[in-house]
Symmetry: C2
Subunit: 333 residues, 2 copies
């Protein structure tokens, strides 16, 4: 049922994923109170509410889809895309569509309903990243899928509909616009200079220091030069790496430290803001690239995108990135 | 003080517009209760709170910046850009910046605090569009300014910080990404087919009917093929027109009817949703174009953009545009 449609003017794809609503204006899903563990589909004992697990970590030897787990990955109950779709492409007059082939999975990060990611142990955060890595590697075997987005919405203002700590994976039959634009910009830079643009950014930031927030073993978190909003952060491996899912165990540990520390600093500096993060990595099955560099973008939600942002594609950021970085450097987390 | 900064990878410009906050994490402005006319800066009798008016319509012969007006245009008190800035361009290592030259104005649409645009008379809506036209023509004389975005945020979820009916105008020293991408797509289509892509869309929609919401004298409102969200609408002149500010009085009347009727239908169908609209027209001082077609995009806010949308640039729309259009066609407004 889901369908991908292409805007004929700008080429942007949209996923039309109708939910079983009686009326077309019933667009807001009725959800149980998201803060009540009694009705939370992600709490232990409620495993039967979710589709069967795709991956599980457990301390005990209990049966699948029962309690005792420390992390679960399950298909999303309201998927934007489905693996069962047929990979049909169609033209309708001047319009283009394709079947909504893909996958939409949820990583339930912890059995503890109220253990938000900044309060998770380093091992727990690392376990989430390892689960993402494992799922991406598995999904990459489906040749219909061209890219994967690993992301997290936390807090009602972030678009999250459930408060139990979780992140998500969407596998797509195309390379999405944001990644395409990064790939194009990075390739242009490489053609001109034969250097990775992200490595160049890391070098300039390491020299100037004013936008560096923190460094861990192998990773840097910085306030990007053209941050779209207050306290936006960019987390990158300091060595050139183009494929997230080929990360070593040590690299995943370094990333989990940088991510956890960044989130703890934001929590303290801004009073537990809602936030989104997402991972940009090479499209699936591409060979390692000299010009692309995977990274994680982290955006606390402090203002709403409004008509100006939607209409222009420009963002207005009231907090200079250098001030945000200085403030976060001082914040002890 | 405002500065434009360019993202080195994707080329997106961001306006860094620091507000006078004591601490960098004081990013949320403290505002008076937006629903209290007693403290509303846009209500009659409070003219001294806003900067002096740039344009005014009044029934009486009262002095400027005093009551008796039916519409005012004033500079924004918290401008994203300023005409007083110097037009400096600078490179900082691999980063690019330019002075935040521009203008940011507010159209106070009516003296009535609670008279939202869908409840305004046809003449009032037309007066708003005429004010926008007049201000764009005036701003176009400043050769440093390259484009203007006329837009409106209505309702807290739209990013509006004041409830008194108002719309806004931002003049920019560059052509913003969204418009650039439309111009590029439309030009590509024209080079291939020697036809305006928007005229082609109008022709296909007029034939298929399934996405047409309404037609007024000279205008069509439709649910676009690849709508980013439920009930997004596109309003276009049915004849080929590339420059909004050269519209005739009859054309402005036709647009105001189409806009007002669309807003009334959305109000009834969705229970007075928050919404944004914005106008896309040719960059300033360009000669009329055979391949670009000005239009207005209208987006009710029914879901928040989340990590998936930010990370991919793709949107998930749960309401097929054909269903939204059918529902709105039936809605008597």
């Amino acid at each position: 049922m889901p369908e991908l449609r292409r805007d004929p003017v700008v080429g942007r794809w949209v996923i039309v994923a109708p939910e079983r609503a009686d009326r077309p204006n019933a667009v807001v899903r009725t959800l149980p109170d998201q803060d009540d563990p009694a009705s939370c589909p992600f709490c232990p004992g409620h495993e039967a509410i979710t589709p069967p697990e795709l991956l599980v970590r457990r301390d005990n030897a209990g049966p699948p889809n029962g309690p005792g787990w420390t992390l679960r990955v399950v298909p999303n109950r309201f998927p934007a895309l489905r693996t069962e779709e047929r990979m049909v492409r169609a033209g309708l007059g001047m319009y283009d569509a394709m079947g909504g082939v893909g996958a939409h999975e949820v990583i339930i990060e912890t059995p503890e309903h109220a253990r938000a990611m900044p309060q998770q142990s380093p091992e727990q955060v690392e376990q989430v990243l390892r689960a993402a890595q494992e799922r991406i590697l598995d999904l990459s075997r489906d040749v219909r899928l061209r890219s994967v987005l690993f992301f997290k919405n936390s807090g009602a203002a972030s678009g999250a509909t459930l408060s139990h700590p979780h992140s998500q994976i969407v596998a797509l039959p195309l390379v999405p616009t944001e990644l395409q634009q990064e790939l194009a910009g990075a390739e242009r830079h490489y053609e001109e200079k034969e250097r990775c643009i992200f490595c160049d950014i890391l070098a300039q930031e390491a020299r100037e220091r004013s936008r560096v927030v923190l460094e861990t073993d192998g990773f840097m978190a910085l306030s990007p030069w053209a941050a779209r909003g207050p306290f936006e952060l960019l987390v990158l491996p300091r060595e050139h790496r183009s494929i997230f899912e080929q990360s070593t165990a040590a690299e995943l540990r370094g990333l989990s430290e940088a991510l956890r520390l960044s989130l703890r600093k934001l929590d303290l500096a801004l009073g537990k803001p809602a936030y989104n993060f997402y991972l940009h990595t090479l499209p699936l099955r591409e060979p390692p690239s000299d010009w692309y560099h995977w990274h994680l973008e982290l955006r606390p939600i402090l203002a709403l995108a409004a008509g100006f942002e939607w209409g222009s594609g420009l963002f207005v950021n009231p907090t200079p990135p250098e001030e945000a970085a200085a403030f976060l450097r001082q914040t002890e987390a």
